[in-house]
Each structure stands twice: as C-alpha cells, then as structure tokens.
Symmetry: C2
Subunit: 308 residues, 2 copies
C-alpha cells in the first residue's frame, strides 16, 4: 500500500481578507490547505508545505482530522506566509494588498522517503525550479498534475516552467494564464498549444463561467454551480483541484468517464468553499452534502433523461 497515495505540494498560509464590509484577519488559507481539505473527502492526502513557528497547532489538527497527513509540513523558525487582499464588491476581481512570503520564501519541498512512490502528485503554484525538484523526488507516478500562475509565465522563469510542463500529465490553469502561456486568445486553440508543450490533459478554469477539460480530441465543459450566496471566492481554484485529484486518487481510474466525474467533484467542492470565509464552509461540510450537490449538478447539466 505504501506506493499508493496523493501528494500535494503547496502553500499553507494566513490570509487577511477584505470582502464587502467584512475584514477577516489571519485566517487559515493557502493552496495546500484548500486542496488537501477538499481532496481528503475522497482519499488520504500527503501534504508537503512549510509553516512558521507562529502557526497554530489547531490548524494542523484540523487538517489531520480531514484525512490529511501533515508529517510533510515543515515547521521553521519565523513567520508563516501571509497574504492580504481585497475583493471588488461583485467578487469578480481582487487586489493583493500585501504578500509576506516569510518562511515560504526559502521553501525547499522535501518529500518524506515513504511518499516517494506515491501514485498521484499535485504540484501547487510554487517556483517552477522547485516543481522540478519535486518531480525528481517521485518515482513512476500514475498521474502528475500542476498549477502555475501568470507570474511564472510572464517572467524570466518561463524556460524552467516549460521544462516542468514537459514532465506533467495535466495542467490546471485559469483562462488568462492559458492565453498568456499559449499566446492564443481562443481557449480551444490555447489548450491545443499547451498540450503540445507536454501535458496530455489541460483544464482551463473560468471562474463563474465554469471550467473546460481538453483531452484527446474531446472537450468536457463544467458550468459553475449557480449559487445565490457567494461569500469569499478565495481558494475556489485550489478546492476544484483538490476535489478533482482526490476523486482521481480514490478511483485510480484515468478513463474519460472517471476524469469527467473528477471535474464535477472539483466543481462541487469549489462551490461549497465560496459559501463562507476561509475554509469555514469546509469545516462543516459533510459527505452527504457533497453527494447531494453532485446529484444536483447532474440535474443542472443533463438533458435527454427524465429527472422529475
């Protein structure tokens, strides 16, 4: 069994959020936190991250209680990564007010020996050179997926990023990142160009317009789940990736049907995350609620059969 498992390398952070009239200070955030909590609903998760000595044990205890092995979370002297941002009133855009990398600035992800034969790996949005180091540490995974961001695409690290792309199976990016990376505005063309760089599968996230999966000559479209109440969009993309990879790791099935279900679980998990601040909705989210929304999502998108 030691070769099974899902490893995620990402950030565990404090977020300070200004959303409409509310300010939330130093709440739990970071791509690794959202990803692993969401993935943990489906499969055990092995989290590789770094926190400072100011990081509360209660946060790690929470993750541990959610099927997340935190023994790969390094605790270093200093402060934890802290991001501050303000959202526009319609939640369609956000401004970074402050980024304190702190201990994350010197993060050198080191996979515990027992995790180096894990079958599934998700490379969160870290420096592409570090993503390469992680790839060198893992042996024959079944599926490697990665995230990245405009900062690495537009900067001097693009050649390094391209080396990572050559070695991964799946890229998850948002629409603007896909356009920037490919130089193509049209998303199907952008996805084709990116697939030629290495990843056999490309997922383009489009915020409240949903996501598109490009694989072989097929496309699968997942509209966002319509919600009357959206409180905090932070972590929606990481929750999508967590739900997606968690389901894949559970199913151990890379067929088109399995990957499509993973897209839906990713969409479902993201739809819960945005219903409250930070990870608060996930703290009280039950498996039964996930199952019910999965069925509701089927009703949202399917035609032809009777659902009445």
């Amino acid at each position: 069994m030691s070769n099974q498992g899902l490893v995620v390398v990402g950030s565990v952070a404090f977020d300070t959020l200004e959303i409409r009239d509310v300010k939330k200070e130093m709440v739990l955030g970071g791509s690794g936190s959202y990803f692993s909590t969401c993935a943990g609903y489906f499969s055990p998760v092995r989290l590789v991250a770094v926190v400072g000595d100011d990081f509360p044990a209660a946060h790690l205890d929470f993750l541990s209680s959610r099927n997340v092995d935190t023994s790969g979370v390094e605790k270093k002297a200093g402060k934890t990564f802290h991001w501050s941002g303000r959202y526009s009133d319609d939640l369609s855009s956000r401004t970074t007010l402050d980024t304190q990398l702190n201990v994350f600035a010197d993060f050198r992800p080191e996979l515990p020996q027992a995790w180096r034969q894990s079958e599934f790996l998700f490379l969160g949005n870290i420096h592409p050179a570090l993503q390469l180091e992680v790839l060198d540490q893992i042996k024959d995974p079944l599926l490697v997926a990665m995230d990245t961001m405009n900062f690495w695409i537009g900067g001097g690290e693009l050649p390094t990023l391209k080396k990572v792309l050559e070695r991964v199976d799946l890229l998850v990016v948002n629409d603007e990142e896909a356009r920037q990376l490919s130089g193509e505005h049209n998303l199907p063309k952008a996805a084709r160009a990116i697939r030629a760089m290495g990843p056999e599968t490309v997922i383009v996230k489009r915020g409240d317009a949903g996501a598109l999966l490009f694989h072989d000559d097929r496309v699968f479209a997942t509209p966002a789940f319509p919600l009357e109440t959206v409180v905090d969009p932070t972590g929606a993309g990481d929750s999508f990736a967590g739900g997606f990879m968690g389901y894949i790791a559970k199913a151990r099935d890379l067929s088109a049907q399995s990957v499509r279900r993973a897209m839906v679980y990713g969409t479902v998990l993201a739809s819960f995350t945005v219903e409250d601040f930070s990870l608060d909705r996930l703290r009280r989210l039950t498996q039964a609620e996930i199952d019910a929304r999965y069925r509701a999502y089927r009703d949202l998108t399917h035609f032809e059969e009777l659902h009445l």
Copy 2:
C-alpha cells in the same frame, strides 16, 4: 391547423461589419432574419418585420426557402434599417458605429389575421409599446417569449417594459440586462427577481460562457459550444432564440425535458451562426450538421454514461 405556428416580430436589416481586417458592407442582418432562419430548421415560421424598397428580393427569397412565411414582412417606401458596428479583435465587445433606423423607425407590427391564433410568439427587441400592441393582436398563445435590451431597461420606457413582462411566459436576456433589470449582480438572484415581475421562465445568455435557464426551482446550464474558429458573433443571441423557439414549436411540449432540449438546440444554432459572417454559415447549414452537433454537445456536457 391554422392555429398552429410560430410568429416572430423583429428586425430585418442591413449590417455593415468591421471584424479584424475584414469589412462586410450591407450584408443581411437583423434579429428577425437570424431568428427565423434558425427556427425554420424545426418549424414553419411567420415573420413580422418591415423593410425598405431597397431590400433585395433575393433576401426574402432566401428566407422563404427556409420555411419562413414572409407575407408579414411589410415593404415600405424608404430605406431598410442599417446597423454598422466594429468588433474588438478578441470579439468580446463591439462598438456601434452608426444606426440608421430608416423604415424601422415607424414600424407598427401588424399580424396578418390568419396568424392571430398562432400558438407560439417571439417578441424581438422592439419598443415595449409595440410589444404590447402585438400581445393585443394574438389570442391564447401557448407560449410567449420576449427579448429586450438595456436601452429600454434603463430609459423612460421601463414602466411599459414591465407591463410587457407581466404578460409573457419567458424572457431571454443577457447577463448585463438581467442585472440592470433586477438590480441584482448575482444571476440566480437576478433571475428570481425577474420571475417575480411576470415571466415564469428566464433565460440568461452569457456570451461565450453559455446560458442559464431558470424555471421552477431548477436551473439548467448550457455552456457555449467550444469553437476554434469564431468569425462573426453578430446574431448569436437571435440564433439561440430561434433554435430554442423553433424546437419548442415543433415539439409542442413545454415539459422541463423539452425546454432543456430547446436550450441545447439554441446553443447549437448559435454556434453555427458565429462560424461565418452574416447568415452565411446558415445558408449552407444542413440538418445533418445540426444533429451531429447536438450529439457532440451531449458529449461535451454529460458525465456518468459511456460515450466512447
């Protein structure tokens, strides 16, 4: 049989389009042209519109060849409605360069007597007072749907528009119009507010993000069909409405399943329209192509079953 049929009241126009490096002058356009050509694939269409004495017989002959009864197209002395616009290079926005209403300025839609017991009516985007006049001319229709635009929502005609809304079953608007009309940014909330104004069903079009159908307490989401080549977005919304209403008029079935299929046919027709300038793609579009894309659309959106 005289009480059956689908009536559309809309514009038949000349468009002058500037898209990327191409300028197309005085090509066939107008909501009524797109709507009726698309609806004609499914059901006979009765078109109520006005053109000037400069309007080529060939255009009317084209519509007639497509299942469209043009005996409700009034020919008046003067020039035909002429719209000119330029699109941004990524086709996401357009600027109106010139609008010459010409004979359309005095359009007073008059339904031929034999059409006044038609079962299905689509009120295109005309002055709300004229939409009311048309409603007074039709007897006991099964379904009345309407379009409108920001110009009527934001202007002094809002009270008149609200009278129309009270009398229709279905409103088709884009996302910005839905937000403006309801005062709600969130689309599910906006749709709920609009449904309280009269229409039992609301369809919100979101351009390349697809469309949402709100009906009872259910939502149905149709992502746009992903295309590598988009040439001219003009008429996409009218084509959607035409495919939608054409299918409904053919099926004569207002069940949830039927309305969902209509949403998909609307999406499919719109996806063809944008593949070429003006109505050029529709001129060569075959029923077999529509059927094939309907199946492709099912593959785009369905999970759970095997499609391989």
